[in-house]
């Protein structure tokens, strides 16, 4: 991977970032109602409004307003929460860790289990096992995450009574660090699995196609002819290139996972960004809602960028110009 490729790819990020900023800006501009009322509340007098207008540059031309907006966002200034009176960045920064933990675990879980399932189905192509996995993934793919979550609570937590259904930790503080981690793990298990299951289906379907494609290639035939054990052919040889289609969509999957996390956090009372967002919707705390949109958008762009760089490692045949 050459430095030139990284630089070229980095330059391609710029239009996406500008596009996101433009969408955010235009939506605020087009929204009904005077932005001053939104910024300063409805109880101020004319002098106060004029002051706010000047302070936020609302009396400047559109291009200048956009420049101010873009500079602020890129500096990490996402505005002040109406309700909490604190910078949105700080609030998001506090709530991001539970969500990162939840989505991170779900991302790893869905990637590993999905690829394994896809490889398993591909090596048993057109058998009952393959068809069964296909039907299962197709159905799971169609299932709304809130439904899976509610069923999981009904089955595991209420009926079987084996796992906690709400929150991130037990009411009674666990004794010691290890017990604390175990307690967190127990609370994390069900929400992370629910969040992952839809993505497991997506990854499994893509991985199956990838493995079927690769297993028919010449180098696989060579490896088999050498007398390599089949599991080494599949996992050692075909795997690398078969997972490329899975890697290409990791950015999009991140978007899915984060929006799924909003629902999962509501269902399981997980104290992350999703809960923050829903509460912000109820209190009409616009800067938080907008900040959330920007943070998710930029995360997707960054994830796409990293994935693009990882192709070269997965498939050395891809030449970087």
């Amino acid at each position: 991977m050459s430095f030139r490729y990284v630089r070229r790819r980095l330059l391609q990020v710029i239009p996406s970032v500008v596009g996101i900023l433009l969408v955010g800006f235009l939506l605020i501009e087009l929204a009904p109602g005077d932005p001053v009322l939104a910024l300063a509340g409805e109880s101020g007098d004319e002098a106060f409004y004029a002051d706010v207008r000047a302070r936020f540059g609302l009396d400047r031309p559109v291009a200048e307003r956009f420049a101010t907006y873009a500079t602020n966002v890129l500096r990490g200034d996402l505005g002040i929460s109406y309700v909490q009176g604190r910078p949105v960045v700080d609030i998001i920064g506090e709530r991001i860790w539970p969500t990162l933990l939840l989505t991170g675990v779900a991302l790893v879980l869905s990637t590993v289990v999905g690829i394994a399932l896809g490889a398993f189905a591909a090596t048993r192509r057109r058998t009952a096992t393959d068809v069964g996995i296909q039907i299962a993934t197709l159905t799971i793919d169609a299932a709304p995450i809130f439904w899976v979550g509610q069923l999981a609570i009904l089955a595991f937590a209420l009926y079987l009574g084996v796992l906690p259904v709400q929150g991130m930790s037990s009411a009674v503080e666990p004794d010691g660090v290890l017990a604390g981690i175990l307690d967190l793990g127990r609370h994390l298990l069900l929400p992370a699995a629910v969040l992952a299951i839809g993505q497991i289906a997506v990854v499994a379907r893509m991985a199956r196609i990838g493995f079927i494609e690769e297993l028919s290639q010449d180098y696989v035939r060579t490896a088999r002819a050498k007398g390599l054990a089949e599991h080494r052919v599949v996992l050692g040889h075909a795997m690398r290139r078969a997972v490329i289609p899975v890697a290409t969509v990791i950015g999009g999957r991140l978007g899915h996972l984060v929006s799924g996390a909003v629902i999962v956090e509501i269902i399981f009372g997980w104290p992350g960004l999703g809960r923050m967002l829903v509460i912000a919707m109820q209190t009409r705390d616009m800067p938080i809602i907008m900040g959330m949109f920007l943070v998710v958008s930029f995360s997707v762009i960054i994830a796409n960028f990293i994935t693009d760089l990882s192709y070269g490692w997965l498939d050395p045949r891809i030449a970087y110009r």
Binding site: P15, S16, G19, I20, V23, G24, L27, I28, L30, A31, P32, L138, T139, D141, A142, A143, P144, I145, F146, W147, Q150, L151, I153, L154, L158, I209, I212, G251, G255, V258, S259, V262, I263, I266, I267, L277, V278, M281, R284, M286, I289, M290, M292, F293, V296, S297, V300, I301, N304
Partner: protein, 277 residues
């Protein structure tokens, strides 16, 4: 595409199990949505039974906390889901088809610019953008359709472009061109009919995804307050999870069947378009 070719395609389509099941489910969904007023045994907003009544002969899917009939709610919810899916589907075609065809047919700088433009929309997180729009403009089916439509077309544009690129070099296009066919005519009569099958595969998938996004928003209470929807019903059920399982289970099942209808349709169509897998 000649009539005989259409017939051949239809016969092959009829042999694919996912195509048959997908068509069956889609037709049922459309019928339920169209005849919702006739099919629903009760007014879904009227109190007609005991609160939180379990499913029985009188109320096949039970009743909610106010004693309203869940089955009627689900039947009318089909209308909301389908309206959103159809509206978004139409917008996606209206934007994605021309952009894909022009990019693929013209090539060069036009193609480059249009594809950069498409990528821009592809990174927009639909769910969060929809939430921003609802927060700024208030909830409603119309703006939901617009925001989901405006953000869902890139996949369609890309497949249309890819198809157009490969079709452009084919002999029958050359032949039409040699016969003096004008460019708009060439696009309408030669290119478009051959792009449709692959487009339909993606379009059906997109419409399935849209159903799920609409339901997620409804679940969070961000749907149209004037339209009953499956997501809204499931969201209301959350509070009664411990005492009334039916309120959670049935809206989800309806949604799965609807999304499955579109996904299977897409799968069945895909078998015709590309027999590689």
């Amino acid at each position: 595409m000649r009539l005989a070719a259409v017939g051949r395609l239809a016969r092959r389509f009829g042999r694919s199990p996912s195509a048959i099941l997908g068509t069956l489910l889609t037709v049922t969904l459309v019928a339920v949505a169209a005849l919702a007023d006739v099919l629903a045994p009760h007014d879904p907003l009227a109190i007609v039974g005991p609160p939180l009544g379990a499913p029985d002969a009188a109320f096949l899917m039970g009743t909610d906390d106010l004693g309203r009939d869940l089955l009627s709610g689900i039947i009318l919810g089909a209308r909301t889901s389908l309206a959103v899916a159809a509206g978004v589907g139409a917008l996606v075609l209206a934007i994605g088809l021309p952009i894909g065809i022009v990019a693929g047919y013209r090539g060069g700088v036009v193609d480059d610019l249009l594809m950069r433009f498409t990528e821009l929309f592809q990174v927009l997180p639909r769910f969060f953008l929809a939430i921003v729009v609802i927060a700024l403009f208030g909830p409603g089916l119309d703006r939901l359709i617009v925001v989901l439509g405006v953000t869902s077309w890139p996949e369609v544009a890309r497949i249309v472009r890819a198809q157009t690129l490969s079709l452009r070099e084919r002999e029958f296009i050359d032949a039409a061109r040699a016969l003096g066919s004008s460019q708009p005519r060439l696009i309408r009569h030669e290119l478009l009919p051959n792009v449709i099958p692959a487009t339909a595969v993606i379009l059906a998938l997109v419409m399935g995804q849209v159903l799920l996004i609409e339901a997620s928003l409804g679940f969070l209470g961000l749907g149209d307050p004037n339209a009953i929807s499956w997501g809204y019903l499931a969201g209301q059920a959350q509070r009664f999870l411990r005492v009334a399982w039916w309120l959670s289970v049935f809206p989800g099942v309806a949604l799965i069947l609807a999304v499955l209808a579109f996904n299977l349709l897409s799968d069945g169509l895909n078998d015709q378009v590309d027999r590689r897998w």
